[in-house]
């Protein structure tokens, strides 16, 4: 894949570049600020961008805003946002327009190289990758209006669906068969009264909408 990295920390930028090169990806450009990012994306039209939230000049959320701009100007360019901290509010902003080809992960997830690369590929292919911590925040909100009809196992599956995992991915995580996962998913959708979704990212959208609606 052709990848653009926007990250102002040199160590992490180089580390990411090495890690991606080891996997056979091509880092076509790496920039240290958000303004440069939009220009580079326009020029290179990469397969996916990896963007840090906090960058110069203001060190607040320019990476996030650049990501939203990229998603609206080039809807076919997937963006994976990395951050030192994750907040549900940023996730909602990022995912408000669409959930396909969007990822939002804690930086430290890079340390779990395999999971990180899976998430990156998922995003590059038009899927979703949402950090477990964001999902936990969303679920905590939904907890206020209990959907206790779900079994503990189903709640686990719901959380993994919200993270953007496919049935196969969920089966691998929970060490069960894909058939078992399918059964749980069907049961969740029935209990929550959700429409069945064809693709994984539509499914994420359905789950997020459900959790969001629970917000007073």
């Amino acid at each position: 894949m052709r990848i653009v990295i926007a990250e102002d920390g040199v160590l992490l930028r180089e580390g990411l570049a090495h890690l991606l090169a080891d996997e056979g990806h091509e880092v076509v450009a790496s920039v240290g600020d958000a303004l440069g990012l939009v220009e580079v994306v326009e020029r290179e039209q990469p397969d996916v961008c990896i963007v840090d939230v906090r960058m110069p000049p203001t060190f607040t959320d320019e990476g996030l805003r650049a990501a939203i701009e990229i998603r609206s100007r080039w809807p076919d360019t997937p963006v994976l946002v990395l951050s030192q901290y994750v907040e549900e509010r940023y996730a909602v902003e990022l995912l408000s327009s669409q959930t396909s080809g969007v990822g939002y992960l804690l930086k430290q997830r890079v340390a779990d190289v395999r999971d990180f690369l899976d998430a990156l590929e998922r995003v590059a292919e038009g899927g979703t990758a949402l950090d477990p911590e964001v999902v936990a925040q969303l679920l905590a909100r939904a907890r206020r209006h209990p959907h206790d009809e779900l079994t503990p196992r189903e709640r686990e599956v719901l959380a993994l669906m919200a993270e953007g995992l496919s049935n196969a991915g969920i089966a691998q995580r929970l060490v069960v068969t894909e058939g078992a996962v399918e059964k749980h998913v069907t049961s969740i959708f029935t209990k929550l009264g959700l429409e069945f979704a064809e693709t994984d990212h539509r499914r994420v959208l359905a789950v997020l909408r459900y959790l969001e609606d629970r917000d007073p």
């Binding site: 906090r54 607040t60 959320d61 030192q84 901290y85 907040e87 549900e88 509010r89 940023y90 804690l106 930086k107 430290q108 340390a111 779990d112 936990a136 925040q137 969303l138 905590a140 909100r141 907890r143 206020r144 007073p216």
Partner: protein, 450 residues
Amino acid sequence: MTLPPPPVRVRTPNPLVRALRAPFELRTWKETIHLLLNMPIGIATFTIVVTGFSLGFGLLITLVGIPILIAMLYVSRGMGWFERGRAKLLLDVDVPRPYRPDPTSDRWWGVPVSRMTDPATWIEIVYHLLLLPIGILTFTIAFTLWVLGASLLFLPVYAWALPQPVHAFGSWGEATFDPQLHIGVVGGGDGWVIDTPIEYAALVLIGAAILLATPWIVRGLANANRYLVRGLLGGNVFERVQTLTDSRAAAVDLAAEDRRRIERDLHDGVQQRLVSLAIELGRAKEKLDTDTDPDGAKELVGEAHEEAKRAITEVRDLARGIHPAVLTDRGLDAALSSLATRSPVPADVRVDVAERPPASVEAAAYFVVSEALANIAKHANATRADVTVRRSGDRLTVKVEDDGVGGASLVVGSGLAGLRDRVGALDGELHLLSPKGGPTVLMVEIPCGS
């Protein structure tokens, strides 16, 4: 250290220009209006206070006096509020409310008794009484000077319209229309007939001189009035300085305490993790060097990996404890929602803040909620918590309620006392209502000083 600002050269206009301009300045007129209003308002406040208190004390023996006296405490505060507002509008003096905070007692007489024993209440009542004599004085002086000055200045313009061709003062204070114009010298006598242009011109000049001098007399009176407002409506200056000193000292202590906590967290948490990480990596290196136990080395690297991730999480939590980034980026609503989702006790957050308060106020409000939720989780045995944040005008109000067992207190060294210091450093107030058996309500008010 920051450098001192460069000296600013203030351009002082020519004294003559200043003198000519003074009668037309907005400030002069605002002060004049204030001095004139003193009398009618003084009549009102004097009457209300005297009537109310005589009635109250007079009927005390029949017990009907008690509600009247209590009502007077509130009426007096209302008039104090009005007077502070008037002074702010017309005299440009902004004095803080001098009262001590109402106690958070659940007995009905708690607030009235506290107000009754608050010296600020009685000082304010003295002000309401003094306003009448002072008002008569300021009204008379300001009114007389402006009217006399203006009438002399424009004398030639309207002299022809007077019923008599000439007009005179027989003696001071007694205006007479005498066929012959007499300007009375004190002590009477035949006076001085005004009938030549030169004499008219002299009177016009005197009128102009009075008009030019009046702004300065008005200013002097207004300044005296400002002292009065500051002294009697602004509370005891000494006491306020004392509170300021106290809260500043508390803020310094708080900062030192925060630094100690951060140091502890770094040493006990992150550093320990990094040490054990280094040890594990060292052992793995050893095994790889000697090439005796590749599986063991693999396992150690795996452990080191886990350890490193835990260290990252700890640093992240530590950073959030110092200052949550989302607060800076998105404000209280986002930060408190995020805090609530982390709370073990289900918490509902409602934030109604149209205009963002200063960063220090936002941070204080955030830590109030953070500490309150932590306390609720630890001690309250509650099933739910409600957080309400509202900004009305230049005050931010934070309310945290739970349905727990109550009994929270502000003992020294507790987290809540730390909060009070943090809030006090911003001139805010913290009230806690937590009877045994619950529920607990924590109220914080912080001025936003926009």
